[in-house]
């Protein structure tokens, strides 16, 4: 893969993960603070973690051993 493409992919994944982490820090406090149920902050953080796990594994799928 070329350097430019790698750089673009890196930026894309970093941006996505940063956005997700920011949402994990703020959304439960700003938007879910009145939902005292499983489908409130609990479910949101589960989805957040699963998406980050998916993205992290996805990044490793590009790797090739020489």
């Amino acid at each position: 893969m070329g350097n430019d493409k790698l750089k673009k992919l890196r930026l894309l994944y970093v941006a996505l993960i940063l956005l997700l982490v920011l949402s994990a820090l703020t959304v439960p406090y700003l938007m879910l603070n009145s939902i005292n149920l499983f489908r409130g902050a609990f479910l949101f953080w589960l989805f957040f973690a699963l998406i980050v796990i998916f993205l992290t594994i996805k990044i490793t799928t590009y790797w090739r051993d020489n």
Binding site: L20, F42, V52, L55, T61
Partner: protein, 495 residues
Amino acid sequence: MPISYLYTAIILYIIIGSIVALMARREMNDGVVEYFLSGRNTGGVVAALSYSATTYSAFMMIGLAGFTYSGGVGALGFELIYLSGLSLVAFFGPRFWLIGKKNNYVSPYEMLGDRYQNQWIAFAASLSACIFLIPYLAVQLMGVGYLLNGLSDGEIPFIFGVAIAVMLAIAWALIAGMKSVTWTDSLQSLIMIVISVIILFYVIYQNLGGFKDFFDSLAALEGNVLTVPGPGFFKFKTFLGLSLPWFFFSISNPQVSQRLFIPRDLKAMKTMIKGFLVFGFIYTLVSVFWGFSARLLIPGLSNADLATPELLASQYVPTALALAAMIGITAAAISTIDSIMLTLSSLVVRDIFKNMEDNLDQEQNLRQLRTAKIAILIIALLGFFFAIQELDLIATLSVAASIGLLVVVPSIFGAFFWKKATAAASLSSIIIGSITALYLQFSSWSPLGHGAGVWTLLVSTAVFVIGSLFTEAPTEKADQFIDYINEECRQRNII
């Protein structure tokens, strides 16, 4: 709980663990790299299990369960944000691995010292790691002491539990270095996850009517425990102050970042990352469910850290399962302790007393290994000594550990991604950052309401960036280091 059951369970655990450690010894080769990094030849599954056992300490089933008990669902968010920090390994992991292999680095701080061409950086970072991690290790030892003491109704003295934990950790670290640590870690991580999942399902289905009733009961509790800030502990600034340092755990803590040097190949590193993510997700959920279960079944505890020991001692958990849980928690503690001891000893040998040489002759190898073994014993003794003092100071330093270790994060980012980063900036950010962490932690001062973690990261980053703009970078080494990694990354599709 009858004390004979406790002793039997402990003896069984010691025997099985020691057999595994001795088996590792038979596979062990000679040399420093073999001792500290298992010859850079660890398979993916062992690397994943060992990484999990090292990362997750007794904090999960005691501390995180306690946070959940008192603070509600915020504990889940905090721990999952930590888990998401593993995404950093997808970027840094292969870079550590590539350059570690090329330049024969054994410790992550040795890498920093070489990259910035200044041995004092390795020295300062290693000293700071010792200051913060030895108390952290002592708290793990204290956890085992309290657990055995509590479950035996005081019959097993606190000091006995601490002594058992420290002796096991010494033995399993000394027997075959990283190989015995990773093998015993693998066994222990399986014990941790299997036992905790079984008990969780037992408690929820046997005592709380299944998961639906469980969440209905939580929603009906006072204090809105399924929201943040909920009962009040997880106010936003507290949440941020806890989550931020832990997000960087995978690169800031040397006992885990050193693990990035050990996989056999990239495939093994992939397996390590995947395995850890799955393990971490399950173990986090189990610990949080465990804390919530205690909140429902034994409400009103004045000390939330007792949620797990009290639940284990209650009528809701059968004796056999409680014993198994005790072993699971002890395993979580010891697998963290022996890894920290081994890593700190490598820092002592390679970075504090120096010295990195690419091709050690046999005598130098032997000398370094001898020093390492003495260092393990001294570190263990210090941990033991701190643990039996039961000082508040130790708890404060231990909490400060994840914060204090943050000070190397800017230097690690700079090492891989910023050719203009300088040695003066790196050294200043480590020293000034450590002083900031210690001062804020001990004075309990929270400027603008933000905790020590936020300020330590900000201060060390600012010092690093500003310092780099005004001092001279080791250009030749920076080019060599970063260009090599970039070229390898291009060939191997590493993002």
